[in-house]
């Protein structure tokens, strides 16, 4: 699948290309293109359903053999969905050369297909039908309920079998269909349906065709449910329905206790990352288009030493912003997300391996004292990273790039095991979707309710309930009566032996 960038003069922003599917939805506004790359060497089974595996590829063309059956068809797996925020729902173009077209048979490029096994005449289809009626004729038919056919255009001459024709069909979000044949518009009409569904090449059987230069463009706009959030941490606790944070591991260095917690810093409450090895602060809603800002009032720029020469608080390691995270309950740097790592001299998009220099923003310089702020925005796959020093009003854009990202959570993380010692404040995230799908989120304090104290109670061990766990079967509780019996026996025996000896002694024998 070839990716192309194209920029529209819409209110929103540039439209950029990505592979679309029904799940997961690509963030922001996106155009997906299915073209020759999906069948150039082999038919890509993730994109096309080649039902009987009898559609072949050769020299960059799709070959429908003359011995085709009704099952000889090629239909996209992608389901086109209409969205009023996108002017075009789908556009399908192809060059078609019919090599065999018996009378009474139909070969069609079709849109709005309801299944990967759709047939000619199925309800919901919008078919550009090629039929042999003396010469090859093109008709455009919409199939409605109960398979009732509405002919939108009838019998446009396309020449003879063997002649290549170029067809293009575009369905707009207002249900208008525009069809071009060899570059000339032949139809503009209203459909009764919205054109949602699959695109494909289907037939009634026995039709041979060579199809190439396929371009199928679909347009989507993702609007996940979320909310605009602001958090200044002044309550002492954040909203646990908005955010989640967790210390996953302590830093290798640093004797100070490690934590991620709200505490006072220079008169304000901040979220402090102290000696964090791995950890995160994450939104609990997914975002498509967004703008996020936060202040960094504190970052440890030199080691703080203990009296004994060990390091209490190491110089802070880099921090990172993760976008498109699949999970909010852990540090998610899986291969679906992007991690924007803030070093002192560069900002590094880790997976895309792209860097923006941070000239004039060497925020970890040992002699630097200023606080600073970070802004990350992602709108229609355009990522922009900006920074500013405290008390400045203008953001400085460090870099802009294309970032094709599915909707995901946004996180601030420590990406490495080096100690992160910094604090954030005034975290803000704003939904930048067209027609944001905002929801109300109840407040739930992130405060942990710790019981006053553990209620110690003496344990009662009921010996009768204790079963021997070993197979040797020896029951130790027998020991007491056995020893007692042994003692009694030994005393009795001793008395008897002693008594007998006394009697013998009395009889004149030695003891």
């Amino acid at each position: 699948m070839k990716k192309r960038k194209c920029f529209a003069l819409a209110v929103t922003a540039a439209l950029l290309v990505s592979v679309a599917g029904t799940l997961p939805v690509q963030a922001g506004s996106s155009q997906s293109i299915i073209d020759e790359s999906s069948y150039a060497t082999e038919i890509n089974g993730a994109i096309w359903n080649n039902m009987d595996e009898d559609v072949l590829t050769k020299d960059g063309s799709l070959i429908f053999p003359a011995e085709s059956t009704e099952a000889t068809k090629l239909i996209t797996k992608t389901v086109v969905e209409s969205n009023h925020l996108c002017e075009t729902v789908v556009k399908a173009e192809a060059d078609i050369t019919l090599t065999a077209l018996p009378e009474a048979e139909i070969f069609a490029m079709a849109l709005g297909l309801g299944s990967t096994r759709a047939n000619i005449g199925d309800e919901g289809n919008i078919e550009l039908r090629f039929e042999h009626k003396g010469t090859v004729k093109l008709s455009i038919v919409e199939i409605g309920e109960d398979e009732a056919e509405q002919v939108l255009l009838d019998n446009v001459s396309c020449g003879s079998v063997g002649k290549k024709v170029s067809v293009s069909a575009r369905i707009k979000s207002d249900n208008t269909i525009l069809v071009h044949l060899d570059g000339k518009e032949i139809l503009e009409s209203k459909l009764t349906s919205d054109g949602e569904g699959r695109v494909g090449f289907i037939q009634t059987g026995n039709c041979g065709a060579v199809v190439n230069n396929i371009v199928i463009s679909t347009y989507t706009y993702s609007q996940p449910e979320n909310c605009d959030m602001e958090e200044d941490f002044e309550k002492g606790y954040f909203n646990a329905n908005y955010f989640q944070s967790e210390l996953l591991s302590t830093a290798v260095d640093g004797t100070e206790r490690a934590y991620i917690a709200i505490e006072e810093y220079e008169g304000n409450n901040v979220l402090m990352f102290r000696n964090v090895g791995n950890g995160y602060f994450s939104t609990k809603k997914m975002y498509s288009n967004f703008e996020m800002t936060f202040d960094v009032p504190y970052i440890q720029r030199t080691d703080v030493m203990n009296e004994d020469g060990t390091v209490a608080i190491p110089t802070s390691d880099c921090f990172a912003v993760v976008v498109g995270a699949e999970k909010c309950d852990t540090l998610d740097t899986g291969n679906s997300s992007e991690m924007i790592v803030f070093y002192s001299d560069t900002v590094w998009l880790y997976f895309q391996d792209e860097r923006f220099p941070t000239t004039n923003f060497e925020f970890r310089a040992p002699d630097e004292t200023r606080a600073f702020s970070v802004k990350v925005s992602l709108v229609d796959s355009v990522l922009t990273v900006s920074m500013k020093w405290e008390n400045e009003t203008e953001w400085v854009v460090l870099g802009t790039t294309t970032l094709e990202m599915a909707d995901g959570y946004v996180q601030i993380v420590d990406p490495s095991v080096g100690a992160l010692n910094f604090a954030i404040d005034n975290f803000k995230i704003v939904n930048k979707d067209l027609e944001p799908n905002l929801v109300e989120v109840e407040y739930k304090s992130a405060k942990l309710n710790v019981p006053a104290d553990w209620n110690y109670e003496p344990i009662t061990l009921n010996y009768e309930d204790v079963k021997a766990d070993t197979d040797d079967g020896f029951n130790w509780y027998w020991l007491i009566p056995i020893v007692a019996a042994g003692c009694v026996i030994s005393v009795v025996a001793a008395v008897m032996i002693t008594g007998r000896k006394k009697r013998k002694a009395g009889d004149g024998h030695d003891a």
Binding site: G21, K77, S115, D332, G473, A485
Partner: protein
């Protein structure tokens, strides 16, 4: 006085001697020739089945007693194995091990016929399972006591909601089922990081395509068609079925089809999501029900037979199309399920299915493919140290486990199967849940148990990174949400071949 003291002491000794013998059953003197010491890795099956069998065995064999030392730590269970002076274990219930030089052959266990039964234990075991267990010296040293079959487990309610009335018979039908599920807003699949149980199932598709004989005697014996062994050309052979498997996976496991975060969450989390109805299917094993019992009942979940890889028609002479293949599989299923007999389809040397003539060879090829299942019986394996001083006792215990009586008790407690049939009767599995019954039905009709971990596979697969599909996980490559990282089957294969070309010489050095 002195004599009085002596008398008291003697009496005390006499009393203390009463302490011995006051306790439970049997003579449990350490390492005795009549005490069978079992080291059991409690990896998920629990204790109940073993305790049940031990109790029944001791009753049947009063000449023996059994001591069970169980631990959930796989690394702890066999630390003494191979150290005759330090190891008192007589029977390990553990995982497959390469240390057969310390193991007692179990041939006589397989040759034994239990009193009252007409088949030997070896005859009761599935032959394809035994084929995977025979060592290069021709002996059997390990036999399973657990694990299970692995296949697609599906949520009946979600299938019904999507209107899916017939289970998929081929991989193309499986892809279609995924489409139908999506159309009904149901996520088709989930798996756990990195690729769930697909590693096991991928080899089934491979074996379906190439045939069991090639799979076992060529690929995993590392012998190519010219007799060269080990053969790099064997591993890089694109037409043996592994590329066809990748193409099938490309269709049935796409980014659209899998639950987000499948590539990152652990198996407990994803299995819980599956049980909670977040998706319709998940590859899982016989143990699914037992393993997830704390999360709820497996009622409403069933395992389906492995769909046949659609491109198997490449190797057929009488059928060439998907529509023909599905008809043939349906016919085979009707015989497997007892709805029809094979004679209903036979016509001379061939078979006729819905007007379509199928050669006997094609029927058999697809029959074996359809009735193949992945298994990991090797992950729960019994073996006896050759230096055990209670070998015969340990063997008797194994014989009891594999007897009809013992196996029925095993089934009753665990609800899961071994690759074992009863001697003269059907096992009573009426007490199993619907999930357990589906697993039992499939296991009972499985003709080929497919495993990547055959004891006798070539050393290149044991001691190097040579694998049927390489060391890079296929499923994350196909399903990553990061479109820049996503691979096609062709890209994955090319990378796999490049890896072999790069490492082959080093692997050869490592196994010399």
């Amino acid at each position: 006085m002195k004599k009085n003291v002596i008398a008291i002491i003697l009496a005390g000794v006499m009393a203390i001697s009463c302490l011995t013998g006051c306790g439970g059953k049997g003579d449990k003197a350490e390492n005795s020739t009549t005490n069978i010491e079992i080291a059991y890795w409690n990896g998920g099956l629990g204790r109940e089945w073993l305790d049940t069998l031990v109790e029944a065995f001791e009753e049947k064999h009063p000449e023996y007693s059994v001591t069970v030392n169980a631990t959930a730590s796989a690394s702890a269970i066999a630390t003494a194995f191979g150290i005759p002076d330090g190891d008192t274990t007589d029977l390990y219930l553990y995982i497959q091990s390469e240390q057969t030089k310390y193991m007692e052959p179990l041939d006589d266990v397989l040759e034994a016929t239990i009193e009252g039964e007409s088949k030997s234990i070896g005859e009761k075991f599935q032959q394809s399972y035994l084929d995977s267990q025979v060592s290069s010296d021709g002996h059997y040293y390990m036999l399973t006591y657990g694990g299970g079959i692995i296949g697609p487990v599906y949520n009946e309610a979600l299938f019904a909601k999507a209107g899916i009335e017939e289970l998929p018979r081929t991989t193309k039908e499986l892809a279609y089922v995924c489409d139908v599920l999506l159309e009904n807003d149901i996520v088709p699949w989930c798996h756990f990081a990195p690729q769930g149980y697909w590693t096991w199932v991928n080899d089934v598709f491979f074996a379906q395509y190439c045939g069991y004989d090639y799979y076992t005697n060529n690929f995993y014996a590392a012998v190519d068609e010219n007799g060269n062994s080990p053969s790099k050309e064997l591993l890089t052979n694109k037409s043996d079925g592994r590329y066809a498997t990748l193409k099938a996976l490309e269709e049935i496991v796409t980014a659209d089809y899998v639950l987000p975060a499948s590539n990152t969450y652990d198996h407990a989390t994803m299995q819980t999501k599956f049980m909670q109805g977040e998706c319709a299917m998940m590859l899982n094993g016989s143990w699914f029900e037992t393993e997830m019992s704390s999360q709820g009942s497996a009622d409403g979940f069933k395992m389906m037979r492995m769909p046949v890889i659609s491109s198997i028609v490449d190797n057929m002479t009488s059928i060439s199309k998907e529509s023909e293949l599905t008809k043939l599989v349906a016919a085979i299923d009707s015989v497997t399920d007892g709805e029809k007999t094979i004679e209903d389809y036979k016509q001379g040397e061939d078979y006729v299915v819905d007007g379509m003539t199928v050669t006997a060879a094609d029927w058999e090829y697809v029959d074996l493919a359809r009735n193949s299942m992945a298994n990991n019986f090797s992950s729960e394996t019994a073996f006896i140290p050759s230096y055990s001083n209670c070998k015969e006792g340990a063997k008797e215990f194994l014989k009891f486990l594999y007897s009809d009586e013992g196996y029925q008790k095993y089934l009753d407690v665990l609800g899961t199967t071994m690759p074992l049939n009863m001697s003269d009767k059907e096992a009573d599995y009426s007490s199993l849940s619907s999930f357990g019954k589906s697993v039992f039905d499939i296991s009972n009709t499985t003709k080929q148990f497919i495993t990547m971990e055959a004891v006798n596979r070539h050393v290149v697969y044991k001691e190097t990174n040579a694998r049927s599909f390489g060391t890079v996980n296929v499923i994350p490559a196909f399903t990553t949400r990061n479109t820049g990282e996503r691979k096609t089957a062709e890209e994955f294969w090319n990378a796999y071949v490049a890896d072999i070309e790069k490492n082959w010489d080093e692997w050869l050095q490592n196994i010399k």
